[in-house]
């Protein structure tokens, strides 16, 4: 087994970390205090990210991306994850890999401009009544001559506030299967401003200030058949083939943030004196540090293992689930303990810890809750036994 990093990987880590440290982190305090990432600041940082070749680095080289393998992409995501989500995701955009399923004119209209940073995508799957049970979606798209007519509501849609188009999943029919009626889902590319399509403000939430989720409403919204991404009724097939390792993105960014929290905690434990000695010399603190480092390393190895398997095309759903589950639960633990080691100071907004602690909470919910990941892992174990 080979665990060492290549020269290229080392350089990618360095350049991404330098960019995050010098360009993004200085704006964390403002975004946290105001809850807003100012559009002009976002535009300026995005231009720098494009110039540094960091923008859309997740995309394949033949469409203008960096063409990173999954392991290297995970290392890049990990560095981005060190700073706030709004800053890294809105400024160093990673267009959805599903856009690689674009064909013909779709590539010119959606794929290439997204890679160049000229257009921004968002992805709409979740509905008020369809979270983990994604196939329960009620949004429908009904064929009408050369068009589809879309009706329904999506919510928790990340980035819709500044996106130019949405990759929308809607039910286009039903079929009966062994476990009853199953909806057939189709993916569409819908431009903002299409008549019958409105984006509304979403909900205020505990994690990731400056990042917004939105509500998307479709009322007799008419799109041409050319708006279908992939094949009609095969939206999930398109998603499964192209969406890529999005759970590894959550895992990697969680690991980056945990690393930062652990570094702060270690520094504090070495500097802070109580009862005449470094607090890190008290076993109550030192054992915490050891456990945090241990959990972090375990999560990182699981994630790199899943990424490597993804490149070898041998990754299972379980591999992805384990990496996401371990990394996000590790982050919750490390963020909480780092804050605990800081005592009262940890709760103050002057340090990034209370933010990391709040931000950690969403990671165990989006991209599949911890419970769904455990379900996936256990189902794979039991299935061979008739489970």
């Amino acid at each position: 087994m080979e665990f060492s990093l290549s020269d290229e990987q080392r350089m990618i880590i360095k350049t991404t970390r330098d960019f995050v440290t010098h360009e993004l982190m200085p704006h964390e305090a403002e975004v946290e205090a105001t809850g807003v990432l100012r559009p002009e600041l976002q535009a300026a940082l995005k231009a720098k990210a494009i110039d540094a070749g960091l923008y859309a680095a997740n995309m394949p080289a033949d469409v203008g991306g960096a063409g990173l393998d999954t392991v290297t992409w995970v290392l890049y995501e990990k560095e981005l994850g060190r700073t706030g989500y709004a800053l890294h995701y809105n400024c160093v955009g990673r267009p959805s890999n599903i856009l690689c399923a674009c064909v013909g004119e779709q590539r010119e209209k959606y794929l290439y401009p997204s890679v160049r940073g000229e257009r921004v995508d968002c992805l709409a799957m979740t509905e008020p009544g369809a979270g983990s049970d994604v196939r329960g979606m009620k949004t429908t798209a009904v064929a009408d001559k050369d068009d589809f007519v879309i009706n329904g509501t999506k919510h928790f849609i990340s980035h819709a506030d500044h996106a130019d188009f949405v990759i929308l999943f809607a039910a286009t029919g039903e079929e009966s299967g062994p476990r009853g009626i199953k909806k057939k889902i189709t993916a569409f590319l819908v431009d903002m401003g299409t008549p019958g399509f409105v984006v509304r403000d979403g909900y205020r939430n505990v994690s990731h200030r400056g990042y917004n989720n939105c509500i998307l409403e479709f009322n007799d919204c008419r799109v041409p058949k050319s708006a279908v991404l992939g094949q009609v009724h095969e939206g999930f097939e398109v998603a499964n083939s192209w969406l890529g390792a999005t759970r590894l993105q959550v895992a990697a960014t969680s690991i980056g943030r945990a690393e930062r929290a652990l570094a702060l905690a270690t520094e504090w434990a070495a500097q802070r004196q109580q009862f005449g000695q470094q607090i890190g010399k008290f076993q109550g603190v030192s054992f915490k540090l050891a456990d945090m480092a241990l959990e972090l390393r375990a999560a990182e190895l699981l994630t790199l293992d899943a990424a490597w398997k993804f490149d070898q095309k041998i990754a299972t759903d379980s591999d992805m689930a384990m990496a996401k589950l371990k990394a996000t639960e590790m982050l919750a633990m490390v963020a909480d303990e780092a804050l605990q080691i800081h005592g009262g100071m940890g709760l103050m907004s002057d340090l990034p810890l209370e933010r990391i602690w709040r931000d950690a909470r969403i990671e165990r919910i989006w991209e599949g809750t911890s419970e769904i990941q455990r379900h996936i892992i256990s189902r794979a174990m039991l299935r061979p036994h008739g489970g």
């Binding site: 020269d7 290229e8 350089m11 360095k14 960091l54 080289a61 960096a66």
Partner: protein
């Protein structure tokens, strides 16, 4: 101007808290993160800007050090150097040997300009540049914080104690880069991928006909003494009092 040679030294990363080996024979390097000497990065950035202004056509990054120094040369190539040369040696070498090695490369490559960092952050010697200029018999301009080139003359602004000093040197010359000369660029991701395909030649001191000097001997290395604990003062008056007591102000 055609060619610029830039010196690239592999040093312990500036973020690393260095630790002295228990026997005092030097600094522990096992598993320590290594980087390009920050002043050499500035030197390379300046060379890249000269080339981008159309005032040079080729930049060659040169390092003298162990095989692993190829990592730092790859970084230089990713930043934009056209090719690289490693003078491989596993021995710790002193500035004079480094200057002789660079001189040997210069004789083959015939550059119009050599830019090095003003010093390396490991030994802080700041001698390789001046020694090289002397051996080469060409002008030197150290601690450069602004550089303009006009044909075969380079104008250099130097930060000196009295303010800013402006000097002119005839090219070819050796220039050493100071901190405020420029701010090195981020290495672009696509350029990192391309760096792998750039030419990196490996040679060694014997091939270049350079013998290792032994004018310097490291006798002992020790960590600086830990700083004494500070005291908190309430206001400026108390601060002045405390400084007076220590005899630091009168």
């Amino acid at each position: 101007m055609q060619k610029i040679i830039v010196g690239i030294k592999r040093v312990v990363d500036y973020n690393v808290r260095v630790r002295v080996k228990p026997d005092g024979s030097g600094v522990a390097l096992d598993g320590v993160k290594m980087s390009v000497n920050p002043f050499d990065e500035i030197a390379l950035e300046e060379a890249l800007r000269i080339k981008e202004r159309g005032e040079a056509t080729e930049i060659i990054a040169v390092s003298i050090g162990p095989d692993d120094a190829q990592q730092q040369l790859r970084t230089a190539l990713a930043m934009g150097a056209d090719r690289a040369i490693l003078v491989k040696t596993d021995q710790a070498i002193e500035p004079l040997t480094a200057a002789h090695a660079l001189l040997a490369i210069i004789k083959t490559e015939q550059p119009d300009l050599v830019i090095v960092g003003k010093q390396a952050i490991d030994d802080d010697a700041a001698q390789t540049g001046p020694m090289l200029a002397a051996l080469w018999g060409r002008p030197q301009a150290t601690f450069c914080s602004k550089l303009t080139i006009n044909g075969t003359v380079a104008t250099i602004v130097r930060e000196v104690d009295a303010g800013l000093e402006t000097i002119e040197v005839d090219l070819p010359a050796v220039i050493s880069a100071d901190l405020r000369l420029n701010e090195p660029r981020y290495v672009k991701l696509p350029d990192i991928m391309k760096a792998k395909k750039k030419q990196l030649d490996v040679t060694d001191l014997a091939t270049l006909g350079v013998s290792i000097d032994d004018g310097l001997k490291t006798v002992h290395t020790e960590a600086p003494k830990a700083r004494a604990k500070g005291i908190l003062v309430k206001d400026v008056a108390e601060l002045v009092d405390a400084l007076k007591k220590k005899g630091l102000v009168s």
